[in-house]
Each structure stands twice: as structure tokens, then as C-alpha cells.
Symmetry: C2
Subunit: 339 residues, 2 copies
């Protein structure tokens, strides 16, 4: 990686800042990263997936967590981008493994190029993610990379569990919550812990922020499960009922299976691997059972419970209230989103 | 990764040691690494490929390079194993990309399990490789990881170039030498530099050793190309003529194409993507042209020239002659191997 790119000038926020200041810092820094040039087949897919956009949620919370402890978030910028590069690496390889044709409405890397290029450009992306961590001050580098590596392995474990669940008939709600914790939540938790550690937070506050991130991450994924069934089609980006059609074991389905009576259970299992029913019919029948079992309210209760836990952790962090409010509001926005 | 495994007791060599002492240290340390347990589909393939064996050449030269500068190679052990884990990660993903059925005579990971498991267990192997570097002393950690990351990206670039060459009609000898430098030689160069850096070598000696490794690596690959055609079937592990049958652009083929007359060129291109001729006929006709053009001697000259350069670099390293002799003898063995 070419590391001699310009350092953004004003990473020190003005006295009164809002979240857009930090988002801008992330976007500026991401735009200055040069991943590599030759061979072009290896590096072009990296630029492609990084430019597809996304919320940049993970690097954003790294900066917000860092800002809790120091005005200056300069030293968080490159590692925060390392988290974003790693996140996009997981999307690239996951899409390949899931044979997904689209990502953010655009062709996935293995579709646009081919499987081998997706494997190899993903591999080099992980190297580039590590490289973005290497300017961390020497006294903290080992700790940060141990945390990152631990998190990276956990994300791989989560993806493997998710693939295992596709063919397993014995997935429990507990298994599912464990899987989404690894696949989705730990990276959000690490993103927060990272900012805290880099900007000198006491150990306890860093762990509280990590827990805040993990619990928000779980709640976020459960909300995703919920929107798949109860989202409004014109606001939800994906097809409503997509998880039902794909036989995906979500919190809703696993809870329903757990509580279903004999006839409901028959409906929920009748459709498995079946194409004889129309998709619409399947979605309707499942949704009706979810309604009968009050799955929506149960899922909302679960989401609220995780969210409450998250907020309690954030509340306990010893940092200025106005700064914590930015993280709280961001988490609230994530919970209220309809897509 | 569970890092609390026992540290080998006697990493400090006795007054008089030979290479087997270091090989034993490597094998001991490798056997104590616990990669992870759950999910088993993710970690079993790592143990599988690591237990297939191999020469452990890269970690061995790390220790031998470290031994040039300090009696005690203890601090080189885990990073040396990191190199070996990384090397095996590249074999795992390369075999998948090349659709290779066998590795060291055993089914490859994607054959024994499946493609997705090969992708994901490879990914987590790269994380584990990085983890094995993290106990390097803080003052050197950044430098070591920058060197490693640079090398890791280069290896990916080499693999991409190798795949590009399969479908390109315009590969030059220079392109080929660049590709094998990236794909094969830089990791050997890094392995040596690593041991030197960890054991406090002056910068210049570390770079000389890196160059020694790169030049030996290129010579080693060219020797591999040569053995494919001129090796004795009963000593060579693979099928003689395998590269010819696979239309592989080796140093021998590219040199022959470069120097062929019109009728020879016709033979060398006639067979491309053709199955109408028997394999044996193709190997015979190519070998005859190689003989006519004196390709064997030219390749041997090239190998000797790289080997000479390697030895000159090693000679220039400021370290005890008896210790340098171990590296020189190892390199000589690599050159004299017949398989």
C-alpha cells in the first residue's frame, strides 16, 4: 500500500460538532487510500466494492468512541478505515460464498469479474485492512491487533455457522443469537472499543463501549429480520418476505417453530425446499402464523431488551453527556430505520 | 487463538548444532499451535493442511537467519511459524483457484470439504498467521508487520499474474521472472529478513539476506521448471512433462518460443488447447525442440546465475562463517534436489 497519502487537515473537531463532521473525515480518509495498481485485476475490485458506498457505520462509531475521550480523533482515522476495509472484505467473500448477484444494487465482484478474482482480491483486502492498523503507536499496536484479529476470526466463525444453519434442522434460538453475535455484532463492538483504546479510555469504559456495540449489533440484526416480514415494501430496500422465501432461519422463524402447535408446525415445515407453492402463498401463510403467535411483538420485545442493555452500557461510560448523545442518537436512528 | 501454549524449552542451541536442531524447534512449535475449535468446519481444514507436512523451508531459514546474529532464536519461533501458516494459506486458496485435486498426495481442502469451506478456513488462516507475529517486541512489531504485509500482498499479486498468464499470448520471459519473484521468491526473502530483523541484524545484513532468499527462490522455481522436463520420472514426484501438457508458460517454453524458427514455432503453438495429439507425443515434440535449442543448458545457466548472486549476497553478510555455511548448504541441497 502506498502510505504517503495526505493526512486530512482538520481531524480535530471544532468546539461544537455534529456527526456529519466525523462522517466527512471518514469519507475524506477513505478517498485517499491507494490500495495498489498492478495487476489491475487484483486491485480494481477493491476500489469497486469500496466505492459502492454504504453507511460507513463502523468507522463512524470508532471516531465517535474516540471523541468521548479526546477532542482529537486523528489517530483513529486510519484504523477506522481498516475496519471498513475489513468489513467490505467480508462482504466480498460472503457474497461469493452465498452466490449473491447484487450488493448495494450493483453486481457483486464475483459476478462482475469471476470467482478467482473475488477470492484473491478479497485476500489482499484483508492484508490492506491490517496495513491500515500499522501506524497505531507502538505501545498500543499489539493490543489493538490482538483485539482486531480476535474479532476477525470471530466474524469468520459467524459466517461458517450461518452456512451450517442452512442445512441443519436443529438450529435453536440460542444458536442463532450466538451466530449473529459473531457474524455481525462483534465487529461493531470492536469498532467502538478501538476508538476508545486508541484515544486512551480506561479499560472499563472501553469494555462498556464494546458491549454497547455488540448489543446494538444484535438488536440491529433482529430489526433486519423483523423488517423482512413487517417492513413496508416501498421503504424496505429488499423484497419483503425474502428470508421466508429463502428458508432462512431468522429469529422470527425459529421463535415460531419453537412455539407452533402441530398444524402450524406442519405449515412451517411443509414448504421447505419446495417450489410447488407460489412464493406469495408461502409468505402469506408464514406471516399468518407469525401473527397468530404474536411473533412481531416478541421480536420487538427482544430488540428493545438488547437495545436497553446497550444504552445502559453507554450510560455507564465516564464521558461528557453531549458526546455520548451522538452515539445514543446514532443507535436510535439504526433502530428506527425502515430499510 | 489460544496463545497460552507451552514455550519450547530449549530454543537456545548448544555450542555445536546442525540444521536438524532448528527443524526440530519448528516442528515442536508448530505442534503446539491451537488454531481454534468451533465451528469444526472452519478449523479442521487448517489442522489438516498444516499436518500434510512439507519441508518447512521458510520457518527453517528464519531461524537460520536469526542464528547468524544471536545464539538464541527463541523470539523467532512464533513469527517463523506465522510464515509457515501464511504459506499454507496461500497453498489452500491457490489450490482452490487452480482446481487442484491433490496437495502432497492428499485431497485438497476444497475437494475434501467444499469450496466455501476452503475460502473461509483460508481467510481465518491468514488471521492466524498475523496472530503468530503479535508477540514480536513492541519496538519492532510495526516494522515486521509492514514487511510481512508488503510480502503477503506481493504473493497475491504473483498468483494473479500467474492466472493472467494462462490466457495471455504475450507473456515474456521478463514477465515470467517477475511473476515467480512475487509468487514464490519474495516469501523466502521475507523469511530470511524476518529472522535477521528479529535477532538484531544491521539493516544492510537483513537486506543481503532478503536478496539471498529472493535469488534462491527464483533459482528454485527455475529448477522446478527444468525438472518437469528433464527430471527422472522415478525421482521426480510429479508427472514428467506435466507443465508441457498443461500449456504452462515456464521459463523453458518462453525461452524456446523466443528462439524458435518458423517450423519449431508452429509445433509449439499447434498443440495449444488441443487434445487431438496424445500427451506423450506432445511432450516428446516439445522436448525435442528444447534439445535443438539447447534450452536445458540455457536454463541451467540462468539457475546458476541466480544462485551465484544469492551466494554472493550471503557471503557479504557479516556473520560467523560456520553459521552462514548452514544456509549455504541448505540452498545447495535445494538446487541439487531431483524432486
Amino acid at each position: 500500500m502506498n502510505n504517503d497519502y495526505a493526512v486530512p487537515e482538520a481531524a480535530k473537531p471544532a468546539a461544537s460538532v455534529d456527526i456529519s463532521f466525523f462522517a466527512e473525515q471518514i469519507n475524506k480518509t477513505l478517498s485517499t487510500i491507494s490500495y495498489g495498481d498492478n495487476p489491475v485485476e487484483l486491485y480494481e475490485p477493491i476500489r469497486y466494492i469500496m466505492q459502492l458506498g454504504g453507511k460507513r457505520l463502523r468507522p463512524l462509531v470508532t471516531l465517535l468512541a474516540g471523541y468521548l475521550f479526546q477532542d482529537d480523533v486523528q489517530k483513529c482515522l486510519k484504523p477506522a478505515c481498516g475496519v471498513e476495509v475489513f468489513h467490505n472484505f467480508t462482504l466480498l467473500h460472503d457474497d461469493l460464498m452465498d452466490k449473491a448477484p447484487l450488493r448495494r444494487g450493483q453486481p457483486t465482484v464475483h459476478e462482475k469479474w469471476n470467482n478467482n478474482i473475488a477470492i484473491l482480491s478479497g485476500d489482499v483486502m484483508m492484508v490492506k485492512a491490517y496495513e491500515l492498523f500499522l501506524d497505531v503507536e507502538p505501545a498500543k499496536l499489539q493490543k489493538v491487533l490482538k483485539l482486531f484479529s480476535h474479532c476477525a476470526a470471530a466474524v469468520c466463525e459467524g459466517q461458517q455457522l450461518d452456512m451450517n444453519f442452512e442445512t441443519s434442522d436443529f438450529t435453536t434460538i440460542e444458536d442463532y443469537l450466538h451466530m449473529i453475535t459473531l457474524k455481525t455484532a462483534v465487529l461493531l463492538g470492536f469498532s467502538l472499543e478501538l476508538g476508545a483504546v486508541l484515544n486512551g479510555a480506561p479499560e472499563n469504559d472501553a469494555l462498556l463501549l464494546k458491549n454497547f456495540g455488540i448489543k446494538v449489533g444484535i438488536a440491529f440484526q433482529l430489526r433486519d429480520d423483523l423488517l423482512d416480514v413487517y417492513g413496508e415494501q416501498d421503504k424496505f430496500g429488499k423484497q419483503v418476505g425474502g428470508d421466508i422465501l429463502a428458508d432462512k432461519k431468522t429469529f422470527l422463524l425459529l421463535t415460531a417453530i419453537d412455539q407452533a402447535n402441530q398444524s402450524q408446525k406442519e405449515v412451517l415445515t411443509r414448504y421447505k425446499n419446495q417450489t410447488i407453492y407460489s412464493g406469495q402463498e408461502k409468505v402469506q401463510e408464514f406471516t399468518q402464523i407469525y401473527n397468530e403467535l404474536n411473533i412481531r411483538a416478541q421480536t420487538e420485545d427482544k430488540i428493545n431488551s438488547y437495545f436497553e442493555e446497550a444504552i445502559q452500557s453507554l450510560n455507564a461510560v465516564n464521558a461528557p453527556e453531549a458526546r455520548k448523545a451522538m452515539l445514543r442518537n446514532l443507535a436510535l436512528q439504526l433502530m428506527e430505520r425502515e430499510s
